[in-house]
């Protein structure tokens, strides 16, 4: 009896170790994803907790060495839908006060240098870029987040949002076009002329 108990806990220890190495390493990415979905640090924390709880329970069904980050993101998204969708704002409606509060509670650790070459981009405030992104319909915003911010491939995104790759491609194209138009609106407010033929 005693030996069986020992064997179980060795198995459990291995599971914990693998979980830390494969799953817990993605906690920053998950937290950021949750923050952008909920716009609220407390809700984001709860969401991440629940995601890891579920992930740990089902960890034996996860195939080691495959994309754990994608697997976790999918769990988190499902948790988000179940928990928060009912109270979510309408698509495309931006809560500007929420965004301002959100930005004031987190430290901006990014420098202002950018690889992008023109003044157009320097004129945009972080908050404005965020608002522009948040104002997009959710299906566009989500794929832009997953692609540009999290670096998932189209195939992975297709799996996460449960749509064909062609749809992901199309949403990214249309979403970016919309986003660009909104960014240009903000830049114009800063007095930047966005006409290409002056």
């Amino acid at each position: 009896m005693k030996e069986k108990k020992k064997a179980l806990s060795a198995q459990e220890e291995l599971k914990q170790k693998e979980f830390q190495q494969e799953a817990v390493v993605h906690i920053n990415a998950l937290y950021n994803y949750a923050l952008h979905l909920t716009m609220n640090p407390n809700d984001a924390e709860d969401l991440v907790q629940e995601t890891y709880l579920k992930a740990y329970k089902f960890f034996n069904s996860f195939e080691r060495g495959t994309n754990c980050k994608a697997w976790l993101f999918k769990i988190l998204k499902n948790n988000y839908i179940n928990k928060f969708r009912k109270n979510a704002r309408e698509p495309g409606k931006v809560d500007y006060d929420l965004i301002k509060d959100f930005y004031h509670t987190i430290k901006d650790v990014q420098s202002d240098t950018t690889e992008a070459e023109s003044d157009f981009f320097h004129s945009l405030l972080h908050e404005e870029v965020y608002q522009a992104l948040q104002s997009l319909p959710e299906e566009f915003r989500e794929v832009i987040q997953l692609c540009d911010m999290e670096g998932f491939t189209y195939e992975e995104i297709a799996n996460m949002v449960e749509s064909p790759i062609g749809t992901v491609r199309s949403r990214l194209y249309r979403g970016r076009k919309l986003l660009r138009a909104k960014l240009e609106d903000y830049a114009r407010k800063h007095g930047f002329n966005t006409d290409t033929d002056e």
Partner: protein, 75 residues
């Protein structure tokens, strides 16, 4: 290839998601079309902006610790 089609492909191009054939076709068009070349640069810049301007934070230490603790408790 016309410019409209080129623009659709550009979006996938900046993500490295074109097929070889699409990639060749786009390159051919870009070689001949300065407007689309400029548009392509704009598209790349938009992606850079998202990556650089959207704030990313570290998960709170308390959260990390709580998750590590949680996995140690569940069996």
């Amino acid at each position: 290839m016309n410019c409209n089609k080129a623009m659709v492909l550009m979006s996938a191009a900046i993500d490295g998601e074109l097929t070889a054939q699409e990639s060749d076709e786009l390159k051919l068009h870009l070689d001949e079309c300065p407007e689309c070349r400029a548009e392509f640069q704009d598209a790349k810049n938009t992606k850079i902006i998202i990556r650089e301007r959207i704030v990313r934070v570290k998960a709170p230490k308390t959260l990390v610790e709580s998750i590590v603790r949680m996995t140690n408790v569940i069996s």
